[in-house]
Every structure is written in structure tokens, then in C-alpha cells.
Symmetry: C2
Subunit: 442 residues, 2 copies
Amino acid sequence: MNQEGTVAAQPRAPRIVIVGGGFAGLEVAKALGRAGLPAVMLDRQNHHLFQPLLYQVATAALSATDVAEPIRKVLRRYESVQVLLGEVSEIDTARNTLRLADGLVLGYDYLVLATGAGHSYFGHDDWAERAPGLKTLGDARRIRALALLAFERAERAIEPDEQARLMTIAIVGGGPTGVELAGSLAELRRYTLARDFRSARPEAAKIMLIEAGPRILPAFLPETSDYARRRLEKLGVDVFTGTPVEDIGEDTITFAGHTVPVGVVLWAAGVAASPLGAQLGAPTDRAGRVMVDECLRAQGLSNVFVLGDAAAFTDPAGKPLPGLAQVAKQQGIHLGQGLARHIRTGAPLEPFEYRSRGNTAIIGRHAAVFERERLRLKGWIAWLAWAIIHVYLLVGFQHRMMVSLQWLWRYLTFERGARVMTEESFDVRTARLPTRTRTSGK
Amino acid sequence: MNQEGTVAAQPRAPRIVIVGGGFAGLEVAKALGRAGLPAVMLDRQNHHLFQPLLYQVATAALSATDVAEPIRKVLRRYESVQVLLGEVSEIDTARNTLRLADGLVLGYDYLVLATGAGHSYFGHDDWAERAPGLKTLGDARRIRALALLAFERAERAIEPDEQARLMTIAIVGGGPTGVELAGSLAELRRYTLARDFRSARPEAAKIMLIEAGPRILPAFLPETSDYARRRLEKLGVDVFTGTPVEDIGEDTITFAGHTVPVGVVLWAAGVAASPLGAQLGAPTDRAGRVMVDECLRAQGLSNVFVLGDAAAFTDPAGKPLPGLAQVAKQQGIHLGQGLARHIRTGAPLEPFEYRSRGNTAIIGRHAAVFERERLRLKGWIAWLAWAIIHVYLLVGFQHRMMVSLQWLWRYLTFERGARVMTEESFDVRTARLPTRTRTSGK
């Protein structure tokens, strides 16, 4: 390989570089590969991550490898696509080059930026250490270790107050991720951990879901929010709405004017686009997402496309699209096919149109919500639909089989298969997690 | 809980503390739990590890959670046993107390030390950084990331020599672990990775197994060693015997007077008992194992027992027992039942007798060896026997089902389900693993 990528063998084909192997980038690569067009797929991880199930890794239900697939393996049969592990540090849109963190420079004719989003702590960057968010496999393992460790420490605590504090978990943000974490942790403590401790009583652990807005699941209909709240409360979750978090201390959280002692704080509130987008020089929105035109081009750049959570795409009605896997995936398919056609035949790119497949969130066993236009499901049937759809969407047959079986097992036994911490993820001497060396978000 | 453990409710029962939830410690806890005797199980990890399959986690075949089970969950139904997460830092055999790293002090009437073994680099402690060994889940993830990363870097390498160096893996030590790692990595590169790269050719990766002694698998019969060598060579492994390693450099390994550029070095050679044993003040052997009498008591200490890899037990013929899971397990069962009987009825402890269930090592697909007295199996039949026995021995039905299915899947497809690195396990900027903060061994 030379510095120009791998296209030397086909000198006439334009050089296409895709950054990010998430739902959007992967679809672009597949479409180009199917058309036999050379492309380079760059990611700083070796795996594609099925983010919709990541909360299950964080709550010890699935193992990290169940929801991740090597990008290389997914793209194996597309021989014109080369996968490279690397982190982009600079984009030079004047020279059409990318520089990687380790110095490698790649030229491109077309650049596809699909680098997703990380967390925003609304200016309180010191909260990042104390309240991890959930975007990567590392995040999920960290949250799992934090939660399991809190119960381990509670088992050893001598003072009842300290034991109660350790078993208090606050989740900030009442969107689907916050609701899913709260529901899953509530079930973990009630059904799985309850019989395993002698001194601590995990079933008495306090779980708080704290939302700044007037209701949880704000993207759903008000009656759906009500249903979700009732179901969470039935699981013993304390739901607070209209209560923005004011401070996160070492062992406390402050909201609605009260400071509560807490063992674990998880962050499911703000999202910020990958910082790479800002380097394009194109306009961005408040969350750092690059404004794109109807063909997914970064505004003012004819050969740079931005997709998925990194992009701010406004539909014809003027509404920005939400940060969902299905949006990213549809954009990837649209751009990949359009770009392949454009390169092969010169046909112009067509405007992207989003078709919602419906909105879904899971609250717990037998409790989920699903909305699509006039169709609204909740409870059992939504839960089943959610499970079937998510297994179906998992990349790779082995994952589907394994995840289905683990779910079946958990359903029948109330067990969780992944209640494991490794010595990488916590410091057993202090019973605390090590300081994170970097924040998540790619 | 008070500082004296949890026995306050039954003041007459002696306080028993078990350190280490491996094969030995777990069996002691179960036997005491079955007898309803109070005991505390201390471990610095939250999980029991099925070490015989750990090399499969290291070679991306199984996921970490497939071979680990929360100690708490295993001991759930023994209500008299309390499980605590903690690391012992000091043992005071005069006062019969243990101090944990975080300051907690536990008193004991009987102490069972089953803390296993770590690695010995024969005085070359600087090699530990460059040649990780395989004892913990963290080790396995680290080795997996190192090996996968070497291929990722090779795909990006420009110089053919550098590419060849990166894809050279040296394994030091020709015992079962070394043989299993070599065979499994040879299959990984030949069957699984081969089609996934464009520039690098993983199937051409060089795998070297380096043994100081005259033959690999020295605990087996000479003809078994010959068979294993032939099978490894058929998989493309270069086997070197009678060649002690002289140096491990940053990117090189030196043996038999030659220095070879290398991408990954793995250590499967020396073993050293957990350093905790030395604190007892009882005599230890060269590997730091505590000399125990026929009843598994540390020499000179009537109320301290040492089991498994931490102990040097000599059978009546004067032969020390090998560091095998089956030895540890049998010792745990023997001591647990004996101690329970002793406490309940005053019956004296009986001498431990080891009954070998046979020796086994796996080389690759369809190739394993098994020896037990006059019975010798190799090839297909030994491979099948190995797989069935190991699945049967796995703690927990879910693990059995999942591991069986993953094996079946891999067998049919040549895929591996766990080719995933997380950002915790490597630094993508330099494409190197982070510096380890501690050596393994507990």
C-alpha cells in the first residue's frame, strides 16, 4: 500500500475514503463494494457496534462480543474495499487529504464522514469522569463494572447509610437509553442479584431516573411517556421529571435543589457530534453536527458527505432527523448507491428521503413501546416485536443465534450471563474504577 | 458485618476464611456450605475463571464471559458462605488475622489459601511487559488485542520486511498452554483471517513455538510429543526445542544465538506461585509454592491450608503434583469435606490422595492428545473427548450450552466469534498496547 490508498491498480477510479464503520459507513462501503469500486474504510476500532443493544452489555445481560462484529469480516466479500484501523486527526479539505494520528496521509476524491456522536455534558466536563455515558464497548464494560462494584462494596459496608448510598444509582436523561438502563438495572437488582448477597439487599437498591424536560421519552406521544413511567415505577424506579441536574459531586448528585448521596451516576442526556466534523469548515449546529444539503453533502463542499449522528439533516418540513440507527443506515444505503451510480454513469445524486420504521424503547420484561404513524404498541406485544426486530437486525448469523439463546435463557431463569468484571476495568484496592484516559465518542 | 467476619450469629462455629475462588477454593466453600458451616470466600476478582479454556478467549474463539462465572452466583445456595471482593495484603499467622488492601481486617480460626499462580520470567522482569502470559481474563483480552493488532498493523505496513515482522508471533514455552496457543493462532491466521485482508497475507504469518527443554509437552510420553510436533508443523508452526530464550527485545526475540524480528511474543514458560504464600513463613519450593503436609496443612501451621497451584504437595512416591485444575479441585473437595467433618465431629483430617483423570492438550481441529495410565488417545477421538469433558466441567448450564454452540458454529464455518478489541485494550494512536499496571497472578 502506498500513501495514496490502494487504488493504484485501478488508476481511473476515484479515491473514496469512508471514515467510521457504524451503521452509515458500513452501508456506503457495502454499496461501493457491490459496484466493485475501490474504497478505503477507516475506523479507530476494529469492530462495528450494534449500539441499540449496548445497554444490555452495560447491564450484564449480553457479552461485549455479542454486539460487535469485526468490520473486516463484514466487508470480507467486497474485494475492492480495504479496511484500515486508524484514527483521523486532521482533514484538509483544500488538499483533499486526511492525516491519521500516527502520521499516515491518505488522499481522497470523495470523503464520507460517518463518525457518529459522543456525549455532551453541557459545559460540565468534570462530570464526564463521575457519570460515564454509553457509546462504546469500553463504556459498556465500565458501566457494568461500576454497577457490579457498587453492590460488592455495599456487601462489605459497615454503616447502613453508606450501604444505602452505594446502592443508589442515578441515571441522567429520560430518553430511550436512560429508560432502557433504568429498567434493565431495576430488573438486575430485583431478579438476578437479590439472592446472591448476605449483608447487602440489592433488591432494595434505589434507582433514580432524572429528566430535565417535562416527561420521559419526549420523542414519543404523551400517553406513551405515561405508560413508560408507570412501568418503571412498577419496577421500583423513582422517576423525576422537570428536574435538570445541577451538580454531580464525588458521591452525590444535586437536582431540584436537593443533594442526594449516590453510588453510581450514569449519563444518558446530552449528545455531541464527533469533533471531526468541525474540521471540515462547513457550518455546524449547536450539537456540532455538520449541516448537510439534501444529497448529504457538507454545505459548501461538493466532494464531502456527512452521514448519521455526525450530520444535521433537515427534512423538507424543516425538522432535523433524530440520531437513530435507522436514519444512519438509510443514509448510508442512499449515498452508497447514489455515489456508485454517479461514478459509473455520471448520474446526479438524488435527494435523501427518510422513511421512519417506527420508534421503539424497551422498559423491561414484557414492557416496551413502539410507535409508527398511527400504529402504537405497548407491553407484551411491543416487547416481542422489539426482540424479534433487534435480533433480525444484528449483523451476522452467529450473533443472532447467540443473542436469541441468551435472551431465552434469561427469560426463563432471570439470570444474566455476563456478570463479570476484569481487573482492567476497576482498581480492586480502592474498589473504584480507574481514571478514564479519554472520553468516548468517535 | 463486623471486623470479625459474619459468624456473630453462630458464636460457636470457628471462623473459616478461604482466599481465592479458583478450582480449589470454590470446592472448599461448597463443602463447608453444604455442611452449613459459616465461611468467608475472598477473591480480588468477582468471578471464578475456567482457566483450561482461557487460551480460546485469547485467540478470539470464545468471549470472556463464556469462561467466567460470578463466584457469588456459584455459591448462591450455600447461605452460610459469604463472598467478599477484596485483595489480601497481609497475613499474620501469629494473630490469625488477614488484612485487606483497603484496610479491612478479618480474623480466622482456619485459613485456606488457594490463590493460584502467576508467571515467572526467571529473573527477567522486563520481559513481562513485552511477553504477556495467560492467567486472567485481562491477560486473555490483552493477548487477543496484541495478536489482532499485529495483523491490523501489517495491513497498513508499507515495507515488506516490516509486514513480515509484524506477522511473526513467538510463543515461549512448549507445555500445554504454549501448544494450545500456537495451534489456535495457527488456525486463526490460516482459516479465519486469511480472506479478510487486502495487503497483508495472514495465512503467511510465521508462528514459532520455542521450548528450552528437549521436547514439547514434556509431561507426556515421548511419542505423544512427537505427534504434537508433527501436527503443529502441519499447521505451519515452527517448533524449536532445546532452545532457551536468551533475550526479548522491543521488537525481537533471541534464542539459539539468533535474533529474530518479531511482532508478538507470548509467555507460556515459567510459573510462580502467588506471593501471598511466602507471607505464611512456612517453607516454600523454588517456584514459591508453600510446602504442605499430607493433609494440605502449611508446614508448621496447624490451622492454615494451602491448595492448588499455590501449594507444593508431594505424593507418597516423592513426586510433586502438577499445577492442574483437577489437582486443585480434588484437593478442594478433600479439604472441604475433611474440615467439615473435623469441625462437626472432631474426626482427624485424612491424607490427600491424588487420582489422575488423565493428561490432555489440544493442538487444533481434530488434533488433541490424551494420556491416562495405559490409555493413550490422539487425533480425532482425543479432540472429541477433550471437547466433551471441557464442556461438561464448565460451571453453569448456560456456559455449557453457549460454549457448545459456539464450538459447533466455529467447527462448521471456521469463523471465530470474538474478534473484538475495545479501546481499553490498546492505544490506537500508536497501535500499541498500553503499559500494564500490574503483572498477573493472584
